[in-house]
């Protein structure tokens, strides 16, 4: 099964939402926190292309207990973005609930109940801002009506605050005291709900602390490996060292001799292609505790048939990929006639850009717990970004009914796209069935780096032409990287339309002749998606090249880019893109690419960073701008050489237009973290494979930026806007890398054409 990648989604919802009162049993099942009281659910449905009903947003469950505790259900996974806080916060604000007393319960994976739960693609806020407000507004309107009836006053004289309904006379009643009346109320139709004025929000548009901050600071927060079940055993797996390798035979004598080791079980892998939701072939050691399982795993003797990838070398492939970009590729976008522009050019510039494989290296390595209870029933606890996919994959692997699989979602110690894939959850389910007890599968850091779904390495060649007046007249971008789809289907040799829609074919600049081509490459390892996906390498190449072109033209890069964006307008690339333009799953009419919004963030960041002012000797600034996931970002990075000769990044400036800023503190924290994350991608991290095997084992070989090297100050300017809100998890990464590379050039006089660079 291929995942519904966010950038492939094309749903035009026709609203058929309704409010309902779910059975108490149903609600209690989701939430052990609820002590009784009134439960309402709001069901957001729409008609699909064939008129079928699709639940496009969650049933928002709201529980009001008679002791005035409000419980809200978080249906998206928390991996560090704050979404588990921010979506319920929207409901609470619209409702007038007292935020400090609101409880949040985490939903299990259930598409029918919650709609899309795939926490990926920076689209939670974009998709659910409206439904959450509508849910809160519905609850508020019902509460006001209940109070008005009780008091015998007009409902228009009632408002809500701090989990109370207030009357204009000063009378107050707690929500909890209206619980008994709520069940008798008529449920308002969605179109009769009036939402609050934006200016009257107390939480939306403000800095709101995350719900889990205290638990996270006291060791009480529960992640994937923290759930303890009676009689649980621990499994550690030796997986195929080369993707597609098969076990010929194994000897478990030494492993079984280790005290605490109970059983050794073979897991069958899919072979080649490995699949996006299948475990790798491997041998699992199941023991009473983690240490015994690890030692048992080390003692296994396995004979492998390494298969077709055993001669694979990533560095050789990268060379071949680069070579392939010299010829004509598959045409993906065309405007004007680039070849004519080349013939008539005053100046031609051609550059190549290389970027490596990257691992996610979430600080929490994958771990999952399964309890197969016999009779085709399986319960899961896992740090998963996509509980519904995990549920489906477990049902498929065990050949049991989907409805008999329960997926409980723990907190995630980082996700970045890795924990969308359910392979590690399926491992736990298979092993629990084999062991006839609950099993936790524990990945070590070595397992995590050796067996990730990597961000693909890439080669790009950009040819540009300046006309006789020095203006940019032609842009020819060649890109090649193993496609995500190749992990599931070996015939996928070109990046998909979706992957090219991430910072390549959506090139927004006013250049008369554009030609964008892709080239073939094969996947020899598992390819996945990493925070901002192919925007990482596309923005690196595009924005570094533009910086060089500005220089060739003799223009300031900020002015050059703003100029290239031309008049403020909405772009739709009509007639130019060969294939589909994904636009991150949204229609281009609803979320057009607006050049004015991009220009505005460029202007702001330049001002905030004092871009036009000269910098002192030994210091430099670099700039880049990039729209991704429908969010507009411009970035300026300052660099200097430290006393020890090492690079210092004293200051980073971001300007971001993400429409309405819903939880401003979490927007800033995503940008702060995004800059640190991107620093690792630019400077310290790379995965290489030789003989089909990943060569980095742990954080000593795959390095993550640490506090001394990390940027010292990060300023985030959030543009005030009433546009529809868009996500911020991924957009900080792409422009930062190019801005840093461009700053390095100013500092050292040398351009960066390959990541990671050392400094």
């Amino acid at each position: 099964m291929l995942p519904k990648l966010p950038f492939f989604k094309t749903k035009e919802p026709k609203n058929q939402s309704k409010v309902f009162i779910p059975s108490r049993r149903e609600f209690l099942k989701i939430s052990s926190l609820v002590t009784g009281g009134f439960v309402m659910g709001i069901n957001f449905q729409c008609a699909g292309p064939k008129g079928e009903v699709i639940t496009f947003a969650p049933n928002v469950y709201i529980n009001i207990s008679s002791d005035n505790v409000i419980t809200l259900i978080a249906h998206r996974s928390e991996m560090g973005t704050g979404i588990r806080t921010t979506l319920p916060m929207i409901v609470a604000d619209e409702m007038g609930a007292e935020w400090s007393k609101v409880k949040i319960a985490q939903a299990e994976g259930d598409e029918e109940k919650y709609g899309d739960q795939n926490t990926d693609g920076s689209y939670s806020i974009r998709m659910f801002y409206e439904p959450m407000r509508l849910a809160g507004g519905t609850a508020r309107q019902m509460l006001q009506a209940a109070a008005a009836a009780k008091w015998g006053v007009d409902v228009s004289e009632c408002s809500t605050e701090n989990s109370q309904v207030l009357h204009s006379s000063g009378k107050k009643i707690k929500f909890g005291d209206l619980v008994a009346d709520m069940g008798k109320m008529e449920i308002p139709k969605p179109e009769s709900i009036t939402l609050k004025e934006f200016s009257s929000y107390k939480l939306i548009g403000k800095d709101v602390m995350i719900y889990d901050a205290k638990d996270m600071s006291t060791g009480k927060a529960i992640y994937g490996a923290d759930v303890d079940l009676p009689n649980m055993q621990i499994a550690v797996i030796r997986r195929s060292p080369v993707v597609g390798a098969k076990v010929i035979s194994f000897n478990d004598e030494k492993a079984m001799a280790i005290p605490g080791v109970n059983r050794v079980v073979k897991i069958e892998g899919a072979g080649n292609p490995p699949g996006l939701d299948k475990p790798l072939e491997g041998v699992a050691v199941i023991a009473d505790n983690t240490w015994a399982a690890m030692k048992g795993r080390d003692a296994l003797e396995i004979e492998w048939d390494l298969g077709e990838n055993q001669t694979y070398s990533s560095s050789k492939q990268l060379e071949e990929m680069l070579k392939s970009t010299t010829g004509d590729g598959k045409l993906r976008r065309e405007r004007g006639d680039f070849k004519a522009a080349q013939r008539n050019a005053g100046k031609r510039i051609e550059r190549t850009y290389l970027a490596p494989f990257y691992a996610h290296a979430t600080i929490e390595p994958p771990a999952a717990i399964a309890h197969y209870q016999g009779d085709g029933i399986c319960e899961i606890w896992a740090p998963t970004q996509h509980p519904q996919w995990a549920r489906q994959a477990v049902a498929d692997a065990l050949n049991i009914d989907l409805y008999n699989v329960t997926v409980n979602v723990t907190l995630l110690g980082g996700g970045f796209g890795r924990k969308s894939k359910p392979d590690f959850v399926v491992e736990a389910a298979l092993l629990s069935k084999a062991a006839k007890s609950p099993v936790r599968v524990q990945w070590t850091r070595e397992d995590d780096l050796h067996h990730d779904f990597l961000h693909a390495q890439s080669a790009q060649r950009i040819k540009a032409t300046l006309d006789k007046n020095g203006n940019l007249s032609g842009w020819n971008h060649h890109t090649v990287f193993p496609a995500i789809g190749a992990t599931a289907s070996a015939t996928e040799l070109h990046p998909s339309d979706g992957e090219l829609g991430l910072g390549c074919i959506d090139f927004p600049f006013d250049v008369p002749n554009i030609r964008i081509e892709s080239h073939e490459s094969k996947a020899h390892t598992r390819i996945g998606w990493l925070r901002s996906v192919s925007n990482i390498h596309h923005s690196f190449a595009t924005n570094c090249m533009l910086d060089e072109l500005a220089e060739a033209k003799g223009e300031d890069p900020v002015d050059f880019l703003s100029g290239l964006l031309g008049e403020d307008k909405n772009l739709n690339f009509e007639g130019e893109i060969k294939g589909q333009f994904g636009n991150y799953g949204e229609s281009i009419e609803k979320f057009p690419l607006n050049t004015g919004r991009l220009k505005r963030v460029i202007e702001i960041v330049a001002k905030e960073a004092n871009w036009k002012n000269a910098v002192a000797e030994g210091k430099a600034m670099g700039f880049a701008a990039h729209k991704s996931f429908l969010t507009y970002v411009a970035c300026i990075v300052r660099v200097e050489k430290g006393a020890d000769g090492k690079l210092l990044i004293p200051e980073v400036f971001y300007a971001v237009d993400c429409g309405i800023g819903v939880n401003t503190d979490r927007i800033r924290s995503q940008f702060e973290g995004g800059a640190q994350f991107a620093t690792s991608l630019a400077m310290t991290s790379a995965i290489t494979l030789e003989n089909g095997k990943v060569q980095q084992n742990n954080f000593d070989g795959y390095e993550i930026i640490r506090m001394p090297q990390s940027p010292k100050k990060i300023h985030v300017h959030i543009v005030e806007s009433m546009e529809k809100p868009t996500g911020v998890g991924e957009p900080p990464v792409p422009p930062y890398i190019a801005a840093l590379c461009n700053a390095m050039y100013k500092l050292t006089g040398e351009r960066i054409y390959q990541l990671p660079f050392k400094a």
């Binding site: 060791g219 110690g413 070590t444 000593d700």
Partner: protein, 151 residues
């Protein structure tokens, strides 16, 4: 298998484990103290940091048999109600993102501040160098350490 008597968070606990078992797994698997996290197993990330007699150590590299009478403190034992000045500072700056690294960050910071109650920025950076935050909360960690130092 051997028996070990450990003083953890002010309580004495007996465990029967393989002598080479790292303290990290004793805490997590045998004592259900899961606030201490696994991140690398090679003393490269700091997620597993605990205190031995007030000194920060990486519990993933500390065989349980190496521990004698030292007092072990984990994140769960740092304060009764989560109100250690460092924990309070963490909340003041809303430091965590995914939160997974934060037990280790806090344990390192607490031990460091005891030794150096008035640190400079570079001193904080060096002290925290062994703790990776993949989410990139470094700036807020630094700010929180400073706030705690001033309190």
């Amino acid at each position: 298998m051997a028996k070990f008597n450990l003083n953890i968070n002010g309580k004495s606990k007996e465990v029967e484990v393989d002598a080479a078992t790292p303290l990290l797994w004793v805490l997590r698997d045998h004592l259900n103290l899961t606030g201490t996290k696994y991140g690398c197993g090679i003393a490269a990330c700091g997620a597993c940091t605990v205190h031995l007699d007030g000194v920060a150590v990486r519990s993933c590299q500390m065989p349980v048999s190496n521990i004698e009478n030292q007092k072990i403190t984990t994140i769960e034992g740092l304060s009764e109600n989560g109100d250690h000045p460092v924990q309070k500072a963490w909340l003041e700056h809303d430091v965590p993102q995914c939160g997974y690294c934060q037990s280790g960050q806090i344990m390192t910071a607490v031990a460091f501040l005891k030794e150096n109650p008035n640190p400079s920025d570079p001193e904080i950076e060096n002290a925290m160098n062994g703790n990776i935050c993949r989410c990139g909360t470094y700036l807020r960690i630094k700010a929180a350490v400073k706030t705690a130092a001033n309190s």
